[in-house]
């Protein structure tokens, strides 16, 4: 299975009935494909919509946070950017899922700039990770063999100590006060392989096979 699909499928399990959820660009957007109807999750996009639905043919009256034409589901609403970020910053979003370049053992996140190389900007990410009740990082475990889960982030931060859960194609890791707890490992990998691919120390108590990723 594609590693991005594994990540998206596993994260979909974290979304509980009635949750208001914001999905970032990239792998996070794919999570929407694996949310079941009876989960009754509402998706919010920072450009001013609750209840965003599947992509559509272009009318451009309605786009998602990636600028792609989409639809609105029953019960949805539109609002301006200040209201949208009141929802986000004000703690009304239950879960935000976003990608990252680096995450560290304290839960700090770097996702918006590679100085001298790539400067896309932070968009709404800094507000989302500070305001959402729960922050889930969706990313590949390493970048061409270079670990992305570090002792300390080397890139400029998006936020300090805000990540709650890290989901990669190899593992599910929870961020707690005392460090990173390895909770689940993809059966295609061993715990040792996960430890090797992770620069930050992992606290290992009870590890179970990664849930929700069966075909």
């Amino acid at each position: 299975m594609d590693e991005k699909v594994i990540i998206a499928k596993r994260i979909a399990l974290e979304l509980k009935k009635g949750y208001l959820v914001n999905l970032g660009i990239g792998i996070p957007t794919m999570v929407a494909d694996y949310i079941s109807h009876d989960q009754e999750v509402f998706l919010q996009c920072e450009n001013g919509i609750i209840g965003i639905g599947p992509l559509s043919e272009c009318t451009t009256e309605l786009v998602n946070a990636g600028g792609l034409c989409a639809t609105i589901l029953p019960g949805g609403s539109f609002f301006d950017s200040a209201t949208s970020f009141s929802i986000i910053r004000g703690g009304h979003v239950d879960v935000t899922v976003l990608g990252a370049l680096e995450v560290d053992s304290e839960g700090s996140i770097a996702s918006w700039i590679i100085p001298g190389k790539k400067v896309p900007g932070m968009g709404g990410a800094m507000d989302l990770v500070v305001g959402a009740k729960r922050v889930i990082i969706a990313m590949t475990h390493s970048n061409k063999g270079v670990p992305k889960i570090l002792k300390k982030c080397s890139l400029p931060l998006t936020a300090y100590k805000q990540a709650n859960l890290i989901v990669t194609e190899m593992a599910v890791i929870e961020v707690l006060e005392d460090g990173l707890h390895l909770l689940e490992v993809n059966p295609e990998n061993t715990i040792e392989q996960v430890v090797q691919a992770t620069e930050a120390p992992l606290i290992i108590n009870q590890v179970i096979p990664m849930r929700g990723i069966e075909l």
Binding site: G67, S81, G121, G123, G124, M126, D127
Partner: protein, 218 residues
């Protein structure tokens, strides 16, 4: 009755070196006709405040690609390669601001507030040089209001009084920018005699001029 203007009249309201807020999110809800009119007026050295840098050939990005913008205040510039290129050539200064902070800074200016206190950006480069204020035991950054000389709004339907409502996600930054600028021009795709007062999003005192003919697909 609000003043309805034609494209060629837009040049009366723009001049070199002015600051302009442009509504839209990745050009969705951006006023393409007004942007074209600004391009035709040949002004340059503009300070643009917009959510993002748009696309090279769409939205506010067209002003940037054409070299008319010397300073851009935005939350995201990744969709317009022209911004990065001009930054490297030292032809544009870009100030990146978290999107929610940008929205509140604009709202604060329009609401007559001296700034806002936000937890966003604490312990990041965004906090550098800014005052940290503790309220009820929690630390916040003081972010100052942002106003501009002119607002160019898009995605709207107007009535003859100048009241506006918006379509779908085209609302985004438009209503708050309407409050934060000395002059406000709204590009609308449709004019009706009178909007249902319950449906009005931007009340007419915030709007100075209306340009009819905006693309419904903004």
């Amino acid at each position: 009755m609000k003043s309805f203007i034609q494209s060629h009249e837009v040049s009366k309201f723009v001049k070199d070196g002015m600051s302009i807020m442009v509504g839209g999110f990745l050009s969705n809800g951006s006023p393409e006709l007004l942007i074209s009119a600004v391009l035709e007026s040949n002004v340059s050295n503009l300070t643009i405040i917009c959510n993002d840098g748009g696309y090279e050939d769409k939205g506010v990005g067209r002003l940037i690609s054409a070299g008319r913008v010397s300073k851009l205040i935005a939350s995201h510039i990744g969709t317009n390669p022209a911004v990065g290129r001009l930054m490297q050539e030292n032809k544009i200064i870009v100030k990146l601001v978290p999107q929610g902070t940008l929205a509140e800074q604009i709202r604060a200016a329009g609401a007559g507030l001296g700034g806002i206190l936000t937890p966003t950006g604490m312990n990041t480069v965004v906090a550098e040089g800014k005052k940290v204020i503790t309220v009820q035991g929690k630390e916040f950054l003081l972010e100052e209001p942002i106003k501009a000389d002119l607002a160019l709004l898009g995605g709207a339907i107007a009535d003859e009084f100048g009241n506006l409502r918006y379509r779908g996600t085209m609302r985004n930054f438009n209503p708050i920018m309407a409050m934060a600028c000395d002059n406000v021009i709204a590009e609308v795709s449709e004019v009706v005699k009178m909007l249902d007062p319950e449906m009005v999003i931007t009340a007419h005192p915030f709007v100075d001029y209306i340009l009819v003919g905006g693309n419904k697909n903004g």
